[in-house]
């Protein structure tokens, strides 16, 4: 009898052990592979569940397109793939903070991309700084999101800010010859940021006169009274700081006599949801200009081709970028994710503080929105400047094209 193999009658456990050996080896080797390929996580904390909203989905599309490209090229940190995970805040700030806490608890999560609502990001900001999570705002534009008085801030932005956007809209109105404008503003932190920017610019002398400002709440079901008050105050054009709910105004304007239909100049908030669908025929009837930061037609052709291919691969066959809603969100998130990958590689680890530091040390990156040179420095966490601003309008088929 071979003594090396334990006798089953004497030692029933021995048999069990032997049976488990190959299994153990197998689990061990699987474990090693899993360990090697453990994904590096990038979170998206945005308004996925908000009715009619498309912005969060756009951000996710852009981030995933970039992640696919990065993973196809070998991933980061010795072959670890990038993985995008999402959390839904439905535009409610307190949910945003709760989600962020959950994301922060994931050990392999290196950074978070934010959604459309400035109010959400502003509520998250103190937690972002205290917890130390690199956070890139790819849509929200309130100025206070990037607070230059905070040293070593964890908040970055690959999007436009209101201090530049609002003057741009006002100057555009001025260039169009409108001497008096009215403001129709959403009553929240984003709206206040815009009003502050407008009031500051109004002192410059380059702005048309702001005859009146009217606040609306995001549960309002009609805008026409507020609109009328602006027109009655003498506004020749109306500046909109609104999200996709402005479609209500578009429809209401259809019933307004032609001489009272003033041109609308809108912040890009309207592009964050099903604005075109909800506006219906008004989209080609009403004179609406939308400020944008991404002009796909002016993008580097090589990068545009790559971007289109990656985006279509995820969005589905036949979905070219120009028919994708909230395209700037896709583009900003795409660039932000690529820059994050650069910072991760430079940091050489998933250490969030190091990645934060390395974001400030990215030298150059050719993105779809622009060619970034030193996108962030210790003194500046804003990747965009006013050169990205341009005015667009909706073609009758609902596609945004430059003015």
């Amino acid at each position: 009898m071979n003594r090396i193999l334990p006798c089953p009658t004497r030692n029933p456990y021995g048999v069990a052990c032997l049976k488990f050996v190959p299994l153990l080896l197998l689990t061990f080797s699987l474990h090693v592979i899993a360990e090697e390929k453990k994904p590096v996580l990038i979170g998206i904390e945005a308004e996925f569940g908000l009715l009619n909203s498309t912005s969060a989905q756009a951000v996710e599309l852009g981030a995933r397109a970039a992640a696919e490209e990065i993973n196809a090229a070998g991933g980061v940190l010795d072959g670890r793939p990038l993985k995008i995970i999402t959390r839904d805040n439905r535009s409610v700030p307190s949910r945003g903070v709760e989600n962020l806490k959950e994301l922060a608890g994931m050990p392999d999560l290196v950074a978070v991309l934010g959604g459309r609502f400035s109010a959400v990001v502003l509520q998250q900001a103190p937690y972002i700084q205290s917890e130390g999570i690199p956070f890139i705002a790819v849509w929200s534009s309130a100025d206070q999101i990037i607070d230059p008085s905070v040293k070593s801030s964890y908040l970055f932005r690959v999007s436009m800010r209101d201090t530049l956007t609002m003057p741009f809209m006002l100057e555009y109105a001025s260039a169009k010859g409108y001497k008096k404008v009215g403001l129709l503003i959403l009553n929240n932190a984003w709206g206040r940021s815009n009003l502050a920017a407008a009031e500051k610019f109004a002192k410059s002398g380059r702005s048309p006169k702001i005859v009146s400002s009217s606040w609306y709440g995001n549960a309002d079901t009609s805008f026409i009274e507020r609109y009328n008050s602006l027109v009655d105050a003498g506004a020749q054009a109306v500046i909109l700081v609104a999200n996709d709910e402005a479609a209500i105004l578009m429809k209401e304007l259809m019933a307004v006599p032609a001489h009272r239909r003033k041109p609308l100049i809108s912040h890009w908030g309207v592009t964050g949801g099903q604005f075109v669908e909800k506006s219906g025929a008004a989209i080609s009837e009403i004179d609406l200009s939308v400020v944008q930061t991404f002009n796909m037609y002016a993008a580097d052709p090589i990068i545009r081709a790559r971007f289109s291919q990656s985006v279509s691969a995820i969005a589905g066959p036949g979905r070219q970028p120009e028919n994708i809603q909230s395209l700037p969100g896709v583009a900003n998130a795409y660039d932000a994710t690529h820059m994050l990958a650069i910072a991760i590689r430079q940091a050489g680890s998933t250490d969030r503080a190091k990645i934060r530091e390395q974001l400030e040390k990215i030298k150059s990156y050719r993105g779809i929105v622009k060619h970034y040179v030193y996108p962030f420095t210790p003194f500046r966490h804003e990747a965009f400047d006013k050169r990205q601003l341009l005015m667009m309008h909706y073609r009758p088929d609902g596609v945004l094209v430059p003015r």
Binding site: S91, P148, A189
Partner: protein, 899 residues
């Protein structure tokens, strides 16, 4: 039959006239007594009872309608509010929403006259805003959170501090999300709605504890969601009409009694002479009058008219006795009720009081007043007591609230400070209402006074925590940015000027690292105190964090010249006061501060501009040697930009071959060229020729000094290797400047040796020039490294000797081969005797330590001759020509004397 009856009466009919009078009188009196007594008793009793029942039922019905409408009114207002656009906006809003939420909620102190507490919460139950801070208990918040997680609106009735309250939660569901994202909780006291003593509110689950003499009830109609509360109203009879009528009755009977006594008396007077029996009865009547109608009864003897009169009197006395007993019982019952109220009043913590108008003098205070404020009750009732003990700052406000209440008749509430006997002020909340007389004139105020000092303290503590730094008690960053933002927001062209001073304590980190954070904290507290003392009353000092402080001063009406003078004087004061020694747990510590001053114009600047520029100025102060202040200059901003530009260019300079080495000859007294010093120049396409002073510092900070240094060694070694091949040049040495960061680099030695080996040159020909002042920072490790390199044959020269502050003992330990005398010592050699003495001393020093000497920056022959006369024989400087580029080097060497 009739005749038989009259016969029988006639049989008893008194024969005597006196008896007849008495009998008739007594019979009449008794008749009046009986008829009026019994008749009125029955009539009034039944009528009063019917009216009373009708009245309280009406009151119940009416009150139920009124209370139902009032509660429904409040509920529907709250319902509207929860579904309203404003709160939905607020739920999806964040920073800054206080600006409209706070005024909105504060305006809703009451709904339809019912004081109400409102609490707006996010989906986690955290407070977003409330109209009265701290009105909701943790249990109530937890209950609200339960309702949020159950996802439904709900209401309960609970026993509050002052009686039953309705507590309800309405979920807030924005149309965009379709789910509850927050909640509106509110409560209001039902006591205020059911205002009368005669009404009581009841709801499901509450026991009726008292059995009332009389009551009626009516159900209250509420909206569907609130049906489950099952309210009903109970109206009680408290103005007992029975008692009123009994009193009247008793009066009547008393009157009748008196009348009958009168009749008896008259009868007695008439009958006195006629009968002795009647006299006895009279005597008894007198006793009864004197002693009251107790148990004593008139004696009844015989069966005559006198005895029947006595019997009648006795019956009357019995009736009177009964009525008296009933009145006594009623009086006892009343006393009991009063006692119950007294216990109620005295068992709460609130002081009950009554103030007479118009002089506001206390006419009543409950005993708690004595307990809480320690004044005796008699003191409270003194004239002017109430006004004398009020806090001066609260007087106007309280009087305004009281007189408004006296005018309008509304219940009022006011929080104010009232002086305790020990001199301290306690915070109290006064809830009162006005008392009017029959002419509807306000004659008094009546109400309660609650000690809320603790609540006030915790409110203040909360504010302090949010806006003040816990360690130093100074305003924190949040307070500061709000304050500056207010200045910016309120800025008008004339009043927009002021200054932001950024203060950074020098070397604070070292103190913290050396002595630990506890000592660091003590130091910060003392520093903060000094700052507080240095500023003017209206100025603000805040702690930005760590060792950074900010002072904000407004120019006000001061002219820019005087304001600037004031600011500079204060800045100097601060620097001076921070420079004084600190006592830290027995150790004396010296420190200093660097100040950045930015004069702002809030009309143009933003808050971050102000802070950033003051910060920038502070860095300049630091760069200028600390312990001083620097005023922001637009140049600083552009310097920063320039620096960033330069950094980018510097990074590309090596790759673009923009660096160049210049060679300055070193000449012996005999005119022989002994070697050269290699000097680095940077020639940039845009910047032109850049001096090392301008970029070396930047290169050190950015670490670029390492590759640049290696490039220099590479060039130097290549040059030496070239010379080594030519016999006449083989002895030439080359001095290379080594920056301290480069020298301190861990691979410096290995790489240098590797480079030298690669070119196969004699390390002896390479002279490394180190700067004295820089070496002093890490003297021990530097000495070790120098020794190590000397073992490999390298030589060392001490650059800029004499400009640092090195002690001679260090110099002795530094194994240098050569001292380099700085030009500053002999530039004035011909005129300044002190300089001459220094140079002489350096020469003696070098000789005694066995070091070589070289003077750099020699410009003319006179200087050279004097240096030679002191014993310095090697020179470098413009006397022998400007530094040469590489191309010029060979032609120079061809003509120069090298051997």
């Amino acid at each position: 039959m009739i005749s038989r009856f009259t016969e029988k009466i006639a049989q008893y009919y008194p024969q005597r006239l006196a008896h007849r009078f008495a009998l008739v009188s007594a019979a009449l009196a008794m008749l009046v007594l009986l008829v009026s007594g019994i008749g009125s008793w029955l009539l009034t009793y039944s009528q009063a009872e019917a009216v009373d029942r009708l009245l309280i039922q009406k009151e119940a019905d009416y009150s139920a309608t009124l209370v139902g409408a009032t509660i429904s009114g409040v509920i529907s207002r709250m319902d509207e509010m929860a579904d309203g656009s404003l709160l939905i906006s607020a739920i999806t809003d964040s920073a800054g929403r206080e600006s409209y939420l706070h005024p909105y909620l504060s305006s809703i102190n009451s709904v339809n006259g019912i004081p109400i507490s409102i609490f707006l919460a996010d989906h986690l139950g955290n407070e977003i805003a409330s109209n009265r801070h701290g009105d909701f208990t943790p249990e109530e918040k937890k209950w609200m959170l339960d309702q949020i997680s159950l996802g439904k609106d709900y209401a309960i009735v609970q026993q509050g501090k002052y009686g039953p309250e309705l507590l309800a939660v309405e979920l807030i569901t924005p149309p965009g999300t379709g789910q509850p994202e927050g909640a509106l909780m509110y409560k209001f006291s039902l006591l205020g709605i059911v205002y009368s003593d005669s009404l009581e509110l009841q709801w499901h689950g509450r026991n009726q504890s008292e059995t009332q003499l009389r009551y009626a009830s009516a159900a209250i109609d509420l909206p569907d969601d609130f049906d489950h509360l099952g309210f009903k109203i109970i109206a009680k009879s408290n103005r007992s009409s029975i008692t009123v009528n009994l009193l009247q009755l008793t009066q009547m009977i008393a009157l009748a009694g008196l009348m009958s006594l009168l009749v008896l008396y008259l009868g007695r007077r008439l009958a006195f002479a006629l009968t002795g029996e009647l006299r006895r009865l009279e005597l008894f009547s007198r006793t009864v009058v004197q002693l009251g109608f107790g148990d004593a009864r008139a004696p009844v003897k015989g069966n005559d008219e006198v005895s029947s009169l006595a019997q009648s009197v006795n019956h009357m006395l019995d009736a009177l006795h009964d009525q008296h007993q009933k009145l006594q019982d009623e009086s006892d019952r009343r006393t009991q009720i009063l006692e119950r109220y007294r216990l109620l009043v005295e068992s709460t913590h609130a002081i009950s009081w009554e103030l007479m108008l118009p002089e506001y003098q206390f006419s009543f205070v409950s005993p708690q007043a004595e307990e809480i404020f320690e004044y005796e009750i008699r003191e409270w009732k003194e004239a002017r007591f109430s006004s004398v003990h009020l806090h001066i700052e609260d007087v106007d406000r309280l009087l305004a609230v009281r007189s408004k209440a006296a005018r309008t008749g509304e219940q009022y509430r006011c929080e104010y400070r009232f002086r305790h006997k020990n001199g301290n002020y306690l915070w109290v909340e006064e809830i009162g209402s006005v008392v009017r007389n029959a002419q509807l004139e306000a004659i008094a105020l009546r109400g309660i006074m609650v000690d809320i000092t603790q609540r006030k303290q915790s409110e203040q503590e909360i504010e302090r925590l949010a806006f003040y730094d816990a360690l130093t008690g100074l305003p924190n960053r949040r307070f500061l940015t709000n304050y500056l933002q207010d200045i910016v927001d309120a800025a008008e062209e004339k009043t927009a000027y002021g200054v932001v001073i950024f203060i950074d304590l020098d070397n604070f980190k070292t103190l913290n690292d050396t002595y630990g954070h506890d000592i660091g904290d003590i130091f910060l507290v003392q520093a903060a105190d000094r700052l507080k003392n240095a500023i003017r009353v209206d100025d603000l000092v805040a702690r930005l964090g760590g060792d950074e402080f900010i002072i904000v001063m407004r120019a006000g009406n001061a002219s820019s010249f005087t304001f600037r003078e004031t600011v500079e004087r204060i800045a100097k004061n601060i620097i001076q006061s921070m420079d004084n020694p600190y006592q830290l747990e027995g150790n004396e510590h010296h420190s200093s501060a660097s100040l950045g001053v930015y004069f702002f114009n809030a009309f143009e600047d933003t808050v971050s501009d102000m802070l950033q520029r003051a910060d920038l100025a502070m860095y300049h102060a630091k760069e200028n040697g600390r312990n001083g202040y620097s005023i922001f200059d637009p140049v600083m901003q552009s310097e920063l930009t320039n620096r960033t530009n330069m950094e980018i260019k510097l990074r590309h300079a090596l790759r673009n071959h923009e660096f160049q080495l210049y060679y300055q000859p070193q000449i012996s007294a005999e005119g022989k060229t002994l070697g050269f010093e290699a000097l680095l120049r940077w020639k940039n396409f845009e910047l032109g020729l850049v001096e090392p002073a301008q970029f070396i510092c930047l290169a050190e900070e950015t670490g670029l000094i390492i590759p640049i240094g290696e490039w220099i060694f590479e060039q130097a070694c290549r040059k030496l290797a070239e010379w080594q091949k030519v016999k006449e040049y083989a002895h030439l040495s080359l001095s290379v400047n080594v920056s301290i960061r480069q020298f301190a680099h861990k691979n410096f030695t290995e790489r240098l040796i590797a480079t030298v080996n690669r070119y196969g040159i004699n390390p002896n020909r390479l002279k490394l020039e180190l700067t004295e002042s820089l070496l002093m920072n890490e003297i021990e490790s530097s000495i070790a490294k120098i020794k190590q390199l000397k073992e490999h044959g390298f030589r060392f020269s001490l650059d800029d000797f004499g400009t640092g502050y090195s002690s001679l003992s260090y110099l002795r330990r530094l194994p240098m081969d050569e001292l380099k005398i700085d030009r500053s010592f002999f530039a004035n050699l011909l005129v300044d005797e002190k300089d001459a003495a220094v140079v002489k001393t350096i020469v003696v020093l070098a000789n005694s330590l066995g070091m070589g000497l070289i003077a750099e920056g020699v410009e003319n022959e006179k200087q050279r001759d004097v240096l030679a006369s002191y014993g310095c024989y090697v020179y470098q400087g413009y006397l022998y020509g400007a530094p040469l580029v590489e191309k010029e080097l060979s032609s120079y060497l061809e003509t120069a004397q090298t051997i």
